[in-house]
Symmetry: D2
Subunit: 309 residues, 4 copies
Amino acid sequence: MPNLQSVLDEIAHDMASASERGAVARYIPELAKVDPARFGLAVLTEDGTLHTAGDADEPFSIQSVSKVFTLTLALGQVGDILWNRVGREPSGNPFNSIVQLEYEHGIPRNPLINAGALVVTDVLLSGYKPREAIGLILSFMRGLADDDSVFIDEKVARSEEETGFGNRALANYMKAFGNIRHAVEWTTGVYFHQCAIAMSCRQLAVAASFLAGEGKHLLTGNRIVSRERARRINAVMLTCGHYDGSGDFAFRVGIPGKSGVGGGIMAVVPGKASIAVWSPGLNKVGNSLLGSLALERLAKAMDWSIFAP
Amino acid sequence: MPNLQSVLDEIAHDMASASERGAVARYIPELAKVDPARFGLAVLTEDGTLHTAGDADEPFSIQSVSKVFTLTLALGQVGDILWNRVGREPSGNPFNSIVQLEYEHGIPRNPLINAGALVVTDVLLSGYKPREAIGLILSFMRGLADDDSVFIDEKVARSEEETGFGNRALANYMKAFGNIRHAVEWTTGVYFHQCAIAMSCRQLAVAASFLAGEGKHLLTGNRIVSRERARRINAVMLTCGHYDGSGDFAFRVGIPGKSGVGGGIMAVVPGKASIAVWSPGLNKVGNSLLGSLALERLAKAMDWSIFAP
Amino acid sequence: MPNLQSVLDEIAHDMASASERGAVARYIPELAKVDPARFGLAVLTEDGTLHTAGDADEPFSIQSVSKVFTLTLALGQVGDILWNRVGREPSGNPFNSIVQLEYEHGIPRNPLINAGALVVTDVLLSGYKPREAIGLILSFMRGLADDDSVFIDEKVARSEEETGFGNRALANYMKAFGNIRHAVEWTTGVYFHQCAIAMSCRQLAVAASFLAGEGKHLLTGNRIVSRERARRINAVMLTCGHYDGSGDFAFRVGIPGKSGVGGGIMAVVPGKASIAVWSPGLNKVGNSLLGSLALERLAKAMDWSIFAP
Amino acid sequence: MPNLQSVLDEIAHDMASASERGAVARYIPELAKVDPARFGLAVLTEDGTLHTAGDADEPFSIQSVSKVFTLTLALGQVGDILWNRVGREPSGNPFNSIVQLEYEHGIPRNPLINAGALVVTDVLLSGYKPREAIGLILSFMRGLADDDSVFIDEKVARSEEETGFGNRALANYMKAFGNIRHAVEWTTGVYFHQCAIAMSCRQLAVAASFLAGEGKHLLTGNRIVSRERARRINAVMLTCGHYDGSGDFAFRVGIPGKSGVGGGIMAVVPGKASIAVWSPGLNKVGNSLLGSLALERLAKAMDWSIFAP
């Protein structure tokens, strides 16, 4: 087995000089300002050791990576009846597609595309006012990251509010089918804030560690979810975590993960490690281009795969 | 860890008395004649021991399970350039959908839906006449099953020939885009024969074992494919192996598998075991109803999951 | 040529006793309260004579029939550049479909489906505040109906506001593509009010008469639009006026018309007559069931067809 | 009213020098060889006078224009029960789309798109062998054109046979739903031959004249269909005759017509005239670019429109 730190350093070194870096997301104006040259990588191993490389301490907008955490929270709140309102099949469509909702009468295909995440957020609102729900999510993230400096980037949140018409369309459309229960502005408001959470690779790798630890946090040792739920969340990440590039990610990288348009990807190797990588440029299906490549190299070098013993 | 044989016996016993058994596929007349009460289960473990329960020695039509084996053959023949003609993303559509082909210009989403498997078969025809290709596939299956009694059920093959207009539509449609290179009747003819291969659970579990053994056959010790290719085929099975129920199977069962409308499912636990189950009744997305339940129970009882350490 | 009044009386008499009347629209609660037994019919002939039968003086909610009038207004305001923002092809989809908008990047297929009418309303808002735009539309309708008692049913408008999430979805979705220029609540607000205009068959037949008179109002003699524009609006009505039943209406009835979910249909026989019919029960594609039948009988009896000399 | 011959001459003169002529259909190799500079125009008026301009006597491949004639024949053979197997709604999709067939279970939207025309041809085969059906269609065309020199271009027919995989896909797909009753090769074989009929503008204008004459042929005086059927065929042409450009044609030209990928368009002004135009270059939805423009100019100059008195 190669030395993990050397592997990370080598990857970070090579990625720094990559010329083809993908395109930074432009539809949220605040995100468009991010420097495409940044690259960070962090790995927390089962023994609680953290390895980092590159800009691993710089906070970035986690965007859709947040969908895994709100799913975890909502499952904790209402349990498996959540699955009456959202499916768990890959979508075969872009992240923001509305087509499927028409054919399937307002039930989104899975909780890791925008429509599904809006339903999950709507479930979270059952017991809370929007402000409270945002507070709840933020404190959950701080707890998981074991770091109270995790924050919501209000500029990004406002930018999403100002331009989030596609998400409002999805929410209104599902409300027409009765699958959004609160005011659309409430649900989208909380959603825009959860997407605007800013975290560093270091924080994100730590936060993801309960999914590598069969539900137990690798650093704090706290049980966050049951073993079965951890496995199942990993299954949903593997089949649906990279939008219409999920099959390719499973094929090339071979571990569960979730990407965000901010350029972050969180991934887990069950029983071994949790990982966060960040590179703002995206490939054509909306996942971090260099982030995906870095994970492919890392998994290969460390012989990490869920499809191997 | 519970005793594997006891687990299998208990499952077979319970399944024998299940009242809700799904509906036997009717669109291939020969398949419609199969007795829905049959149930078989076989597991080959890494040490080369075979455990069976129920009708594990009765041959059934493997149908789409054959897609994994022709994919393996075609990758062996032409390598990864195969992926220029077929994708590896879940389809988000029924197994026989033609819609996606129109939007994606004749490139099927993955090799485990009908359209994709037809392309794979078309690739196999590059060096062979139809009769030769059929012979090649059959002898590959006999070798993998370590059993020369594996055969093609000619009645089923003829029944498919007589009713396979949907598959001819797919093949003609892709040929209009240049993605079928041989005469449509050649490609569909070979395809209908590969689907008509008859195998027992015992044979199928043995045949699948190279995917559990990182490319090495668990019984014969022969290397069939490289470690990386075995992992990747498993990845494709996990994301695409159960049509529009692939996400649900990953969620509930947690291991790679491939189903067929004959009621068979083949599955693998990397490093641990290969499995075949057979129950002819299908659920609404076209996968064996009791077969899926049996695998869910088996995986849970044995604590088998690729989403766990 | 039979006597028009006798034809109308006979139709109204038969329709009164029809047992199969279709289903009243339920998705707008106020509309669901309407008595399905009502039936009205009015015809204004080119000589300015008005014939009526049944409940021809009872106001009903014109709903989508309003789309023809706002289209007329918007074309008057901005001219044919309107067609840069909306197509004029039949949709091949239900009236409220959002699927097509995704494939065609926010450009609705025609101005007589909901998405297209929202764009038209958005165009109308260019020079006006919402209140002013509503006032403008109402006074246009009063002028055309030659009757100042035409009014907006505020209960219906409020009912639409409370339940119009599908339309908000469409508007937000098009705004994401830049094809709605004003605040979604402004555009949908005006739209909900135009749909809530209440008119009787008598008023509606009079209002439609400029389309039968090649742009000149049959009663007042005022020119409302040019000859060419009148013809073109009729062409759009013929190909797109009955949602996904437009082809069938052209086939059976043979004249241009526009239906609304309130059960009204307005139709014109160029050079001869304008017609309004009302029966609240709808067929499965959302057009008045008895209204369509009544128009088919009327056109046949009077030998009215645009496909004949 | 301007002089018709002068109008035709002027149009032909201007079209001869048009630089933007569209693209000749390339998917049928024989059609790709046609000279894009050709332009012909013929008008038969109600008094039986024929006016021509340009290459009006040169035969071209009528292609989909034939769909109107086989529809007429099939309605004559089986009557309105034909409509159980094919709809009459505009498709909202390209001429060769297969998507709609999946959603609507093998029932094509209308008889003027490829799928619908294949069903119509299949209906024609009920009482005939393929050779006989082809003979029947050809003699019907010769009778209507009042000219025995109308012929089937065997080179074009063969070219279609060799490349018509898209149409075979449609036919197989509908056969899977039971909506093609004969062998696919029979139905497509007849279809390819009807498409390969070669006619001049002069012949086509004469052949179309029964649709301008409310069912009676303008030249021979023979009744071909009833008045009602003539109107209804015109209605189907208006709503569906130009594929996904039907709405635009109705809007701009305002008369029923049917186009073919050979560059021909046949059109009728009920009670006044039948028209044929030919220019091989197509616009982006597959209709003759200059042919459409010529018809728009002709209709405008002669004040022909079904949307006017």
